[in-house]
């Protein structure tokens, strides 16, 4: 019985391999070109910029008392998207980062929550993640002081400078 199975497998393997190669070649494509990557990156940066603006109060619905995310989280510091999902005591459950953002919007900021699947929330996430690049992913980390990345100039990501004052790079 065992010998029969081995023979069958030996016959079948090359067929499976050829089929897999054929299927693979049907789905494969060239790596993204520089132009394509630049375009993708530009789209991402557009969203990061949108997130930066939201972070600093561009959507008045997100605040009922004048506070924006940036008041407490300059350069997105201590927003720690790399530590989610994690248990949040106030909610008594494990939440994703966007839920924590909405908690902040609704409580300290007294504003209206964003839809978790909205482009605005994705933009906020894109900004916060961009300002935490290189940080180790540590789901659940909750009790320690954390440090943001060091921002040398500008907004912390490639962005058109305003041309005012120090913002010249």
């Amino acid at each position: 019985m065992k010998a029969t199975f081995t023979r069958t497998l030996a016959t079948a393997l090359p067929v499976i391999a050829v089929a897999a190669l054929a299927a693979g070649s049907a789905q494969a494509r060239d790596p993204f070109s520089k132009e394509e990557l630049d375009k993708q990156n530009a789209k991402l940066l557009e969203l990061v910029e949108q997130g930066y603006n939201l972070w600093h109060g561009s959507n008045p619905d997100m605040s009922g008392n004048g506070l924006a995310c940036g008041n407490c989280h300059p350069d997105a510091a201590a927003s720690n998207p790399q530590t989610f999902p994690k248990y949040i005591q106030n909610m008594n459950r494990v939440v994703q980062w966007g839920e924590m953002v909405n908690w902040c919007i609704q409580n300290p900021q007294g504003g209206k929550a964003l839809a978790l699947e909205s482009q605005d929330m994705t933009a906020m996430y894109a900004y916060a993640m961009n300002l935490h690049r290189g940080k180790p992913i540590q789901p659940g980390l909750a009790s320690q002081q954390t440090k943001p990345i060091e921002v040398k100039y500008g907004k912390g990501f490639p962005s058109k400078p305003s041309g005012i004052g120090f913002d010249t790079k």
Partner: protein
């Protein structure tokens, strides 16, 4: 955690003062007991306490939570068992620098039952370049002597003109300065005029006169990106380098922080509005960091400061948090 290092830091930061707190507490703390153990004959300082409230960032309108938090701070200071001889307000009464916000601050601060001295922060200043602030609170540069200590207040939030060339409105100028990580305003400082004033102010003081400076921002390069600095801090430290006991107390950082640079001991105060994260720099005294604030407790990471000046001019600095923000280390107080 490196307990040996913590212990070393404990001794460096609290020294005898750590012990005096314990002695003071055990004896029902009064300044007589406090000073008995630490009197330094030959110096002319009479013991006293002063307090600090800072960074309330009041918004316009009624019944904002920051109004209540400033009221909590005032109540906390008014209730101190050892009454402060005066209270320093360390800047940023207002969030957007408007006259109504400053007036609200003045009204709330009038409930203090002791003398108040103030310096401005950037949030108070850049709508009208300090006109409303000065109209309500007086000069932004001053000094006075109190019980043998020379106190100096300076305006450390002055930046070069970035607004005229771009024809920014006063509100746009203020908005640029409101953002801690805003890339426009640039580094601030006290400027030449105040440096000249400072030289003259201390010229005739003897080196054994204890000096306490009040500025909104720290006089050392903590994290320039967030203006946790004063650009002419080195010149200020040089002018004050002859003094044996020089303590710099500042606001702006919204957190507990301690440092020593040359003869200067620097202490940062918590705000009454919100706490800020620690920036990405290596601290010389990492034990001076408070606990990470719990966002579920809306007053965690905030509070006031009490400074007990002892005979001889040494000080025990005690953070007075609204919530359980302090590490066991910080609860013992810091020596300055």
């Amino acid at each position: 955690m490196d307990h040996k290092k913590d212990r070393r830091e404990f001794l460096q930061l609290t020294g005898k003062a750590g012990l005096s707190t314990i002695v003071g507490s055990a004896a029902g703390i009064n300044l007589g007991v406090f000073d008995l153990a630490h009197a330094q004959p030959g110096k002319k300082v009479s013991p006293f306490r002063f307090a600090m409230i800072t960074d309330s960032h009041l918004y316009s309108g009624d019944d904002h939570k920051f109004d209540r938090q400033l009221e909590d701070a005032i109540e906390q200071v008014n209730s101190m068992e050892i009454k402060p001889d005066f209270v320093l307000y360390g800047g940023d009464i207002a969030q957007n620098g408007t006259e109504d916000q400053l007036a609200k601050g003045r009204k709330l601060l009038s409930k203090l039952n002791t003398k108040l001295v103030l310096i401005p922060g950037e949030h108070d200043w850049y709508v009208d370049m300090g006109a409303a602030w000065k109209g309500m609170f007086g000069q932004d540069t001053w000094s006075f002597d109190h019980k043998g200590v020379h106190f100096i207040g300076m305006n450390s939030i002055l930046v070069p003109d970035f607004w005229t060339a771009k024809q920014l409105s006063p509100r746009e100028r203020m908005a640029a300065m409101e953002m801690l990580e805003g890339p426009i305003g640039g580094l601030w400082g006290v400027g030449e005029k105040q440096l000249e004033w400072l030289k003259k102010d201390v010229a005739k003081l003897s080196p054994d006169t204890p000096i306490v400076t009040f500025t909104h921002s720290p006089l050392w390069d903590y994290y320039p990106r967030w203006n946790f600095q004063t650009v002419d801090g080195p010149q200020i430290r040089e002018i004050l380098s002859k003094f044996e006991n020089f303590t710099s107390i500042h606001g702006h950082v919204h957190q507990t922080i301690y440092n020593k640079v040359g003869n200067m001991t620097s202490i940062g105060a918590m705000s009454t509005s919100w706490p800020w994260p620690y920036p990405p720099v290596k601290l010389a005294y990492p034990s001076s960091q408070m606990n990470r604030a719990d966002p579920g407790n809306e007053v965690d990471g905030m509070g006031t400061l009490a400074v007990n000046v002892k005979a001889g001019g040494d000080k025990l600095v005690e953070y007075q948090p609204f919530a359980d923000t302090l590490t066991p280390f910080l609860k013992k107080g810091l020596k300055a």
